[in-house]
Homo-oligomer: 313 residues x 2
């Protein structure tokens, strides 16, 4: 039996990953400090015999016996990671160090969920895994971006120094059911706003782009990376479809609420202007590519958001 | 009386800084784990009543009472920081975190000695402090480069979150007496080789450039940054004179040993091809600029190197 640790398992991505692993029969330990995660996300798993929950902060060491570690614990939305930047970068660096130490002791395979933010405000477009990035080392987003870069570096150093089995995925913007309602990310904001009949808040000129991946595609990709025996990565895992925020707003308007209006708001500092993954590496080496187009993915979020926002038909 | 902590104080730069501060009457605590530093560098200070030595590793917390912290502890030459990359990045991140924690508790002013390596293999030339850099996050040099970037980020986050007094200097290649003989840096290599009558080892095509600053100029710059009450930095502290490694070799040949020969050796991975500081910021805001030209600086090293290499006239 495969004993799998999922740190950050009560979060948006982590809980979908736990679903997947529990369903295929792995023994899953979900570890979370519930900073941005929620019991609701995993409530339906609590009575499964192959699921276990630990309340723990990854900044503290912990002793467990496992075969695989998916290390996701880290606040991920700008609103959350800027709330306490010192804690964010400590979580990223020390949390990763502790989980690498645990992996080393158990001889477990370790996967870190890194991010497209390691490319910063990219000057290469689309971004390949070879691109070194364009990141402000001392700005407001740096606790997250530099934290993840340092965590990737540490991961590769454990691999090179100790021959440890590691995997790196660089996740591009992902959306789906269970996104925190208060996390300020663009998709959750727009869908909530549209459902509540509030205007969709477009930051800046709305011409910046992102590439949005539906969460089930991400989970499929992460598991492929973990379970392949050959390739370490880093692998870009994202959907190459690129949209401006205006286009996204139009799509949400079409899919969720045709009466939605737009509102223009000042943008935040160092906001990347373009972002789009080149996924040739994952496609070629792992045969992975995303399947759910944006319009369908948005539709799949609506029921979950309606329920959590207490909106009746 | 100014109580000053110098971490890494038994190293090349740190020992010159201790000299300067002791001479001006500060009470200096030199903290070092002697990984790359040496007792010889500070032996002459041990009997001063305003100097104290502590053997300690900055990765562990420590309680001291001080007014200023110069945080230099970190292996600095590629040979040393690649020896144990995991330890290097732990030193950089956790060491800086501990010293920031100490500074916070004591309300001490904290200065971090960062590096031109945060610019990586720069695409902007010369480099201003605004440049975000071009750094490989997962290469062989990353433990140092990303460690320093994360340390700068943490420093700015302590400043923004706690209003702590911080200073950041980005040091460009520095040389002078007391450079470790075994540290593999280009100036110490060439001077030793020339003195021993061995060929000077030119890596790659020898056309890569660096800007070399004599250590007394650096110390003057660091103290200016620390003691000014207005400007946080980051400040580039370096000499804008730019030389290819071939030009440096020619200069060493001229100054140290006219019979010196050259030898071509394969270069290391990710070696930056050009590096030169734009020092307008330090010049304008602090009135600092370097004074010692390369030829004179090299001359000033010769006696110290001869003594340590046991070379007679
Ligand atoms: N969702 C995306 O678009 C996206 C994009 C790039 C990368 N990622 C990465 O994927 C991972 C999961 O992101 P998410 O979108 O699910 O975010 P999330 O905030 O929903 O999940 C993060 C989880 O980690 C937990 N956590 C945070 N700090 C912790 C700590 N110190 N100790 C233990 N648990 C802690 C939180 O409580 C939460 O459950 C993160 O590492 C994130 O950086 C996500
Ligand atoms: N010399 C340069 O050209 C240069 C350039 C850029 C930045 N810097 C920075 O200046 C600082 C000093 O560099 P240097 O050239 O004097 O190098 P050095 O190796 O001579 O000095 C570093 C000192 O730190 C000590 N040290 C290392 N790890 C430690 C730990 N974990 N705990 C306590 N002490 C520890 C070493 O023993 C040594 O005495 C470093 O932070 C370096 O990154 C130097
Ligand atoms: O089962 C373990 C093994 C290690 N660690 C932590 O992981 C970190 C890195 O461990 P490693 O053995 O790599 O480094 P070391 O302890 O030698 O510094 C340390 O802080 C440990 O406390 C952990 O939390 N659980
Ligand atoms: O209500 C919102 C929230 C975000 N954004 C923009 O949407 C993009 C994606 O932001 P998000 O916080 O979702 O993710 P990230 O910046 O981490 O990619 C950014 O350009 C934001 O400026 C927006 O226009 N309206
Ligand atoms: O005098 C001190 C105060 C703090 N620290 C260390 O500095 C780090 C950061 O301290 P801070 O108070 O900022 O953070 P916290 O302890 O709240 O995590 C901690 O690991 C402390 O152990 C230290 O070494 N000496
Ligand atoms: O014996 C040597 C040592 C280094 N270098 C080159 O000199 C430059 C400076 O190297 P160093 O290690 O002194 O400093 P850093 O790379 O950190 O600037 C690099 O391009 C090296 O490839 C060289 O040509 N011969």
């Amino acid at each position: 039996k495969n004993r799998v640790l999922v740190t950050g398992g009560a979060g948006f991505v982590g809980s979908h990953l736990c679903d997947y692993l529990v369903a295929r029969g792995d023994h899953v330990i979900c570890l979370d400090n519930f900073f941005t995660g929620s019991k609701d996300n995993i409530a339906h798993l609590l009575d499964k015999e192959n699921f276990e929950l630990i309340r723990h902060d990854v900044v503290e060491p912990i002793l467990l016996e496992v075969d695989q570690i998916y290390h996701l614990a880290c606040p991920a939305s700008p609103v959350h990671y800027k709330y306490n930047p010192i804690k964010t970068i400590k979580t990223s660096f020390i949390g990763t160090m502790n989980m690498l130490g645990l992996a080393k002791r158990c001889r477990a395979r370790f996967l870190i969920s890194s991010t497209s933010e390691v490319y910063g405000d990219p000057l290469q477009h689309p971004q390949t895994e070879e691109y070194w990035g364009n990141v402000n080392p001392i700005g407001e987003r740096s606790c997250y971006d530099e934290g993840k870069r340092a965590a990737e570096c540490l991961t590769m150093d454990y691999h090179r120094e100790h021959g440890q089995e590691v995997r790196i995925v660089r996740i591009f913007n992902t959306y789906g059911p269970r996104m925190a309602l208060d996390d300020g990310r663009v998709v959750s904001n727009f869908v909530s706003q549209a459902l509540k009949g509030e205007p969709l808040t477009l930051f800046g000129d709305g011409k910046q782009t992102r590439s949005f991946q539906y969460v089930s595609d991400l989970i499929e990709g992460m598991v492929r990376v973990m379970d392949n025996d050959e390739h370490i990565g880093p692998f870009n895992i994202g959907n190459p479809g690129e949209f401006t925020m205006i286009e996204l707003a139009e799509m949400v308007k079409k899919v969720v609420n045709p009466n939605a209006e737009f509102m223009w708001v000042e943008n935040t500092a160092d906001d990347p202007s373009r972002r789009r993954p080149n996924i040739t590496k994952a496609k070629t080496l792992l045969g992975w590519e995303p399947k759910i187009p944006l319009q369908e993915g948005l539709l799949r979020m609506v029921d979950d958001f309606k329920k959590r926002l207490h909106i009746e038909e």
